[in-house]
C-alpha cells in the first residue's frame, strides 16, 4: 500500500493554439498523501481547477502523467476513466453539483447506481446523518438551499468510499455558517474515516481546516504549508503577494 493517493508528474496542460495559447499547468509535479486533507490555493487563473480536472481524469494532460494510486490515467480509455471516476473518485464542484431531475438520495447514490453496486445502507445512513440531510432525501435539488445542495454533493462524494475526493471551491458560494458546516464535515471525514480530500479554495478560513496547503501560481507549485491555521495562511498569502 502506497502512502500517495494521487500524484502529478511533470504535468503540462496547454489550452488553445497560437495567439490564444495558454499554459494552465506548467511542468507541475505534486503528490497528495493518503488520509490527508490537502488544500490547493492560488490566485485566479493559476491552474487550480485545471489541476483538479486533470487529476480526476476529466481532462487529459498535454505532457506528463497523472496517477491515481498506481494507475497511470493516460493509459486508460474513456470507459475505463469513467469507471475509475465513479468507483475511485468523488467530486464536489462549486455549484450545479446535482442532477435536477433526481431526488437528493438518488443524487447521492448515483455513482453507485451507475456502477451497479449495492448501496451500503448503514454507511449511507451515517453519511447523510452526519451531513444533516437525512430529512431532505426525498427533495429535489431545486427545493434545497445552497448549503444543503453542497452537503448532498459531499454525501455523494463520500458514499461510494472513493480513494479520494476532489472539491473545487465547494464552499465558494455559501454563507459562512453553511460553509463552516460543510468544511467541518470534510474535516471529520478525513479524521474519522481516513478519507483523502483535495480541496481548492481561496479562503484562508477554509484552508485552515486542511492538513496541508499547496500554493500555486502560473501553473506551478510555489510553496506549501503543513498544519495551517487561518492566521498563518493569511500571512503566507501576504508574503506570496496574492
Amino acid at each position: 500500500m502506497n502512502s500517495t493517493a494521487a500524484r502529478a508528474e511533470g504535468v503540462t496542460k496547454v489550452y488553445g493554439w497560437g495567439d490564444t495559447r495558454v499554459t494552465a499547468l506548467d511542468d507541475m509535479s505534486v503528490a497528495f498523501a493518503r488520509g490527508e486533507f490537502t488544500a490547493v490555493m492560488g490566485p485566479s487563473g493559476s491552474g487550480k481547477s485545471t489541476l483538479m480536472h486533470c487529476m480526476a481524469g476529466l481532462d487529459s494532460v498535454t505532457e506528463g502523467s497523472v496517477f491515481i494510486g498506481d494507475q497511470d490515467l493516460s493509459t486508460l480509455s474513456d470507459r475505463q476513466l469513467t469507471k475509475l471516476r465513479r468507483e475511485r473518485i468523488g467530486f464536489i464542484f462549486q455549484a450545479y453539483n446535482l442532477v435536477p431531475t433526481l431526488s437528493a438520495s438518488e443524487n447521492i447514490t448515483l455513482p453507485l447506481d451507475l456502477a451497479g453496486t449495492k448501496v451500503d445502507q448503514s454507511w449511507f445512513d451515517s453519511v447523510v446523518e452526519t451531513l444533516g440531510v437525512a430529512d431532505r432525501l426525498k427533495h429535489r435539488p431545486t427545493e434545497l438551499s445552497g448549503g444543503q445542495q453542497q452537503r448532498v454533493a459531499a454525501a455523494r462524494a463520500m458514499v461510494s468510499r472513493p480513494d479520494l475526493i476532489f472539491a473545487d471551491e465547494p464552499s465558494g458560494n455559501l454563507d459562512s455558517k453553511a460553509s463552516a458546516d460543510l468544511l467541518a464535515f470534510l474535516r471529520s471525514a478525513v479524521k474519522d474515516h481516513a478519507q483523502t480530500i483535495v480541496m481548492v479554495t481561496h479562503d484562508a478560513n477554509a484552508a485552515g481546516y486542511s492538513d496541508r496547503i499547496v500554493f500555486l501560481a502560473d501553473g506551478r507549485v510555489v510553496d506549501s504549508m503543513e498544519g495551517p491555521t487561518p492566521e498563518r495562511v493569511l500571512d503566507r498569502l501576504k508574503s506570496l503577494e496574492y
Partner: protein, 874 residues
C-alpha cells in the same frame, strides 16, 4: 432585424435541417401528387383530342346508373341518322366489357390490377370518310372478319407474346370460350396504346354476339358533308334518336371525356394529397415545438435584445422571420422533391404493372403556389404562438438566473378548457355520424371538424397526462435498463408540455394508422363472421380476377356442369345486377342505386337468416329485403316499391319478406326469372354449392376445378379461400394506406429527434455532471434514446386510443352497411407482413423502437460532449 433572423437560422443548422425536412416531405408529397396527376391529365387530354380529331359528331348514350353496364341504341334507330340532312356518313360501334384473354398456357392474361379488358367492334374504314380518324387502326395483319377472328391492341399482343395468325382463346362471361384466329394487331392514333387499357376487337356482328347485344350499338361517329353546320346536324340527329342518346360535336366530346377523366383524377389527387396535408399537419407540431424550445432557450438573448431597446413587435418579427425563412427554404426544396417524386412514379408504376399514359411532366402554377404557400404559411402559423411568447420575455429575464424554467400552474384551467373542447368535438363527431344533419352541411363536415376539435382537446389535455404516463412507461423501462432508464424517465417528465407537444406529432400519425388498422380489423372480423357462421355451403363459384365488381358474371354452363357432379348435393345460382330502388315514404321519395339479387327458391337454405318475417322465396313480382334496408326505407311487408333496371326500365315489386342476420346484409332479392327478364341476361355472379355427406370443401373444390378447366374466368373457392382472398385484398388496402401514412409517421418521429437534440443542447452541463460522476458514453446514449422512446410511446398510446375510438364511432355509424363486428386488432391477424402491420401492439412496439432509432443522432451528440467543456458550459 433580418440579419439577426438569418444568423439565428444559420447558427442552428441541425434545427434548420430537421424543421425544413418536415416541410420538404409534406410539400414534396403534395406537389408530387399534383405534378403526377396533372401529367396524367395532360396525357389523357392529348389522347382524347387525338381520338376525336377526325370525328365531327360523336353519338353515345347516357344512363341514370353510375355502376351499370350502360345503355344502348338499336341499329334500326341508328340507321335513321343516314337520312338526316348534312350527314355524309355514320359509323356505328359497340363497346363493352366482359371478356378475358388467355395466354398460351391457358392462364388469365393479366399485368396486375387495372381497368377491365374492353371489347369493341372495329372495321376497316379505308376509303370511307373515317380512314383518317385518330382511333384504333390495324397496324399489323388485317381487320377481324366473322365470328372466328379477333384483333388485339398492341399491349395485349405484347403481354401475351401473340403474333398475327396465332390461335388465341378469349373467354366471354356470357357466351363462354371462344377459340379465335388473331387476325391483326391494332394501335391507337399514331401507334401507341390508349392509356394502358386492354382491347379486344371483333367485327360488329361478332362483337354483338360476344356481348350478347344483338342489333344494339353503344354509339357512333358521324362525318358531316362539307359546308354543313355541325350544330344543325347535331340537332337533326338528336331529333331522330331516342332520348337517352347523346349527340355532341367531336370537339365537345373530347372535352367532356377529358373533363370526366380530370374529375376522376382529381379524386385521386385529393385522396393522395390528403396524406401530404396530414404530413404537413404533423410537421406543424414539430415546428411549433422547435420554436417553443428555442425561444425558451434563448430567453436571455431575447431579453438582452429587449434591454438594448428592441420592441416586442421586433422580437416577434425576428422569430417569425426565422420561421418563414426556414419554411420557404423547405417549400422550395419540397417542390423539387415533389417533381422528382412524380418523375419517379412515372418510372416505377409501369414497372409494377400499373399502366398509365405518360407525358412530359406538367408543372402548373397552381402546384408551385400551393406548395410554396403551404410550406411557408404552415411554418409561419406554427411559430406564431412561440413568437408571441418570445415577445413577452421581460427585460428582467436577462438578469435572472433560471429564467427559462417552465411556467407552472393553470392545471385546473387547462383541464376545464380541454374538457369543454372535448365535449364540443365529440358533439360534432356524433352529430355527423348519427344525427340528422338535414339540409345543413354534409355529415362529413361535422365528422371532420369534430375529429379536428377532438385532436385539439387531446393536445390541450395531454400535458396533464404526460407526467403520470411517462412516469409509468419509464418505470417499466427502468426495470430493464436501471439508472439510464430512471434518468430518461425523469427527463421525459420534467417538461410535460414539451413532452406532450413532441408526442402530439407522433399521436396524429399513429391515430390514422390505428384507425386504418381498426377498420380493416373490423371488416375482417365482419367477413370472418359472415363467412364462417352464416353460409351453409362447401364452395362458392365466383368470377375470377374481377377486382371487386360485384355484378361481374359468368355463363350458366358453369352451374350446369357443377350440377352434374356426383359430389354435389345441391346448389343455388345467384344473379346480381345494379338497380335503382325507389320507395315512396311519407316524407318523400327515396331512390338509391343498389345491387339486386336474382335468387332461386332454395337460396335461404344456403344463407340461412337469423330470423325473418313473411316469406324467403319471392314469387314473380315479389321481393325479399334485409331488415336494415327495410328499416332505412321505412317499408313493411305488403308495401310496394319500384326497381328500375338499366336494360328494361321500371318494374313494380311487392315486399313479401324481411330477413335478418349478417348473411343477408345488403340483400334485395327478386326471383331469378324476374332478374333475367329485366336484364335480358341469363348469367350468374355466384353459385353456392353444397357437397354430399362426407365430402370436404377441399375435395369438392379439387373435383370441380378440372370440370371447369375451360372456364378460367371463374374460380371455385372454399370459404377458407374466400377468407384468405378477402384478407389479401384488405391487406393490400391496408398496406397502401400505411405506405402513404409512413411519411407522416417519419415526420412525427423527426419531431422527436428535434426535441431530443434541443434537450441535449439545453442539458449540456447536466450531462457533463453525469459524465463526471461516472456515466459512461454508452449509458449516456442509452439515456437519451430511452427518453425518446418513452415520449414516442406516449404519443403512440394517445394515437392508438384515438384511432380505436374513431374506428369504433365509424363502425357504429356504418352498421347499416353490414359492419357487424367491431374488432380492436391488438395482435397480428396472421404471420404475414400485412397481418403484423395491422396490429396495434406492433405499432406501440414500433414507435418505441423508432423513438430509439430517431434519437441516435442526439444520443451520439450527448455522448460525444467533452466532460470538461460540458461542465464549463454556462
Amino acid at each position: 432585424m433580418l440579419r439577426v433572423s438569418l444568423k439565428g437560422v444559420w447558427a442552428h443548422k441541425v434545427r434548420l435541417v430537421l424543421t425544413a425536412l418536415a416541410i420538404i416531405l409534406g410539400v414534396g408529397l403534395i406537389s408530387g401528387v399534383y405534378v403526377y396527376t396533372d401529367t396524367i391529365g395532360k396525357a389523357f387530354d392529348g389522347i382524347f383530342a387525338d381520338a376525336y380529331s377526325g370525328i365531327d359528331i360523336a353519338i353515345g348514350t347516357e344512363s341514370a346508373f353510375s355502376f351499370g353496364e350502360g345503355t344502348y341504341l338499336d341499329e334500326a334507330d341508328f340507321a335513321l341518322i343516314d337520312d338526316v340532312p348534312g350527314v355524309e356518313e355514320a359509323y356505328p360501334y359497340l363497346q363493352g366489357i366482359g371478356v378475358t384473354v388467355l395466354d398460351a398456357e391457358g392462364e388469365v392474361l393479366s399485368s396486375g390490377p387495372g381497368p377491365p379488358t374492353f371489347v369493341s367492334s372495329l372495321s376497316d374504314l379505308e376509303g370511307s370518310a373515317y380512314d383518317d380518324t385518330g382511333g384504333f387502326t390495324i397496324a399489323e395483319g388485317a381487320y377481324p372478319v366473322g365470328s372466328g377472328q379477333v384483333a388485339f391492341d398492341r399491349g395485349v399482343a405484347d403481354l401475351g407474346g401473340f403474333e398475327v395468325g396465332d390461335r388465341v382463346t378469349v373467354i366471354s362471361d356470357l357466351v363462354g370460350r371462344l377459340d379465335l384466329e388473331l387476325a391483326g394487331i391494332a394501335v391507337f392514333g399514331e401507334g401507341g396504346g390508349l392509356g394502358g387499357t386492354k382491347w379486344v376487337f371483333f367485327d360488329l356482328p361478332t362483337a354483338q354476339s360476344v356481348l350478347q347485344r344483338p342489333g344494339q350499338l353503344s354509339g357512333g361517329a358521324v362525318q358531316v358533308t362539307p359546308g354543313a353546320q355541325i350544330d344543325d346536324v347535331v340537332a337533326g340527329i338528336q331529333a331522330v334518336l331516342p332520348e337517352h342518346a347523346t349527340v355532341v360535336s367531336g370537339q365537345d366530346a373530347a372535352e367532356e371525356e377529358a373533363a370526366e377523366i380530370q374529375a376522376a383524377l382529381s379524386f385521386f389527387t385529393i385522396f393522395l394529397s390528403v396524406f401530404g396535408w396530414v404530413a404537413l399537419f404533423v410537421g406543424s407540431f414539430l415546428i411549433y415545438n422547435t420554436f417553443r424550445i428555442v425561444v425558451s432557450q434563448r430567453t436571455r438573448e431575447l431579453a438582452l435584445l429587449r434591454a438594448l431597446g428592441a420592441g416586442a413587435r421586433q422580437i416577434r418579427g425576428i422569430v417569425l422571420l426565422e420561421a418563414v425563412t426556414i419554411g420557404l427554404i423547405g417549400a422550395v426544396l419540397g417542390l423539387g422533391f415533389g417533381i422528382m417524386l412524380a418523375f419517379g412514379l412515372q418510372l416505377i408504376l409501369p414497372a409494377v404493372g400499373i399502366e398509365l399514359p405518360t407525358a412530359t411532366l406538367s408543372i402548373k402554377p397552381r402546384t408551385v403556389i400551393v406548395g410554396l404557400a403551404a410550406g411557408t404559411l404552415i411554418t409561419f402559423f406554427s411559430a406564431l404562438i412561440p413568437a408571441r411568447r418570445a415577445s413577452k420575455v421581460s427585460v428582467m429575464a436577462a438578469l435572472r438566473e433560471d429564467a427559462a424554467g417552465p411556467t407552472r400552474g393553470g392545471f385546473l384551467r387547462r383541464a376545464l378548457v380541454g374538457a369543454v373542447i372535448l365535449v364540443l368535438g365529440l358533439g360534432g363527431l356524433f352529430f355527423g355520424l348519427f344525427g340528422d344533419t338535414g339540409s345543413g352541411p354534409s355529415p362529413i363536415v361535422y365528422v371532420g371538424v369534430g375529429v379536428g376539435v377532438i385532436f385539439l382537446a387531446v393536445f390541450v389535455l395531454s400535458p396533464l397526462a404526460a407526467g403520470p404516463v411517462t412516469n409509468l412507461l419509464g418505470t417499466v423501462l427502468e426495470r430493464f435498463t436501471g439508472t439510464s432508464g430512471r434518468l430518461a424517465r425523469r427527463n421525459a417528465m420534467r417538461s410535460p408540455r414539451r413532452t406532450a407537444a413532441t408526442a402530439a406529432a407522433v399521436t396524429i400519425s399513429i391515430t390514422l394508422v390505428a384507425l386504418a388498422s381498426t377498420l380493416t380489423g373490423s371488416i375482417r372480423g365482419t367477413l370472418d363472421e359472415v363467412l364462417a357462421n352464416n353460409v351453409d355451403a362447401e364452395v362458392v363459384v365466383l368470377p375470377a380476377g374481377q377486382f371487386g365488381d360485384p355484378s361481374a358474371a359468368f355463363a350458366p354452363e358453369v352451374a350446369e356442369r357443377m350440377e352434374g357432379m356426383d359430389l354435389v348435393a345441391d346448389l343455388t345460382r345467384i344473379g346480381i345486377s345494379w338497380g335503382l330502388l325507389t320507395v315512396e315514404t311519407p316524407t318523400g321519395t327515396l331512390t338509391d342505386e343498389i345491387l339486386i339479387t336474382g335468387a332461386e327458391p332454395n337460396l335461404a337454405g344456403f344463407i340461412p337468416p337469423d330470423g325473418f318475417r313473411g316469406s324467403l322465396d319471392p314469387g314473380p313480382g315479389e321481393v325479399v329485403i334485409e331488415a336494415a334496408i327495410a328499416d332505412d326505407y321505412e317499408i313493411a311487408l305488403g308495401d310496394s316499391l319500384v326497381i328500375e333496371f338499366e336494360q328494361s326500365g321500371e318494374r313494380p315489386f311487392t315486399l313479401v319478406g324481411i330477413a335478418e342476420g349478417p348473411a343477408w346484409a345488403g340483400i334485395v332479392a327478386v326471383p331469378a326469372t324476374d332478374l333475367i327478364s329485366a336484364t335480358g341476361r341469363d348469367q350468374h355472379s355466384q353459385v353456392y354449392v353444397q357437397a354430399v355427406e362426407g365430402v370436404t370443401p377441399d375435395e369438392l373444390k379439387a373435383a370441380a376445378e378440372p370440370i371447369l378447366a375451360d372456364f378460367p374466368n371463374v374460380a371455385v373457392q372454399t370459404f377458407e379461400d374466400a377468407q384468405s382472398e378477402a384478407e389479401a385484398q384488405l391487406n393490400g388496402l391496408l398496406n397502401f394506406i400505411l405506405a402513404l401514412l409512413a411519411l407522416a409517421v417519419v415526420i412525427g418521429m423527426l419531431g422527436v429527434t428535434n426535441t431530443m437534440a434541443l434537450a441535449v443542447f439545453e442539458r449540456t452541463r447536466e450531462i457533463g455532471l453525469l459524465r463526471a460522476v461516472g456515466l459512461d458514453r454508452r449509458t449516456t446514449r442509452r439515456m437519451v434514446r430511452a427518453e425518446a422512446s418513452i415520449v414516442s410511446v406516449f404519443g403512440a398510446l394517445m394515437g392508438i386510443g384515438l384511432g380505436i375510438f374513431f374506428g369504433w364511432a365509424l363502425i357504429k355509424a356504418l352498421e347499416d352497411l353490414g359492419f357487424a363486428v367491431f374488432v380492436i386488432p391488438w395482435l397480428p391477424s396472421s404471420a404475414s407482413v400485412a397481418g403484423v402491420l395491422g396490429s396495434l401492439l406492433f405499432w406501440l412496439l414500433a414507435t418505441g423502437i423508432l423513438g430509439i432509432l430517431f434519437a441516435v443522432y442526439p444520443a451520439w451528440r450527448a455522448a460525444r460532449l467533452k466532460v470538461i467543456e460540458a461542465i464549463a458550459h454556462l
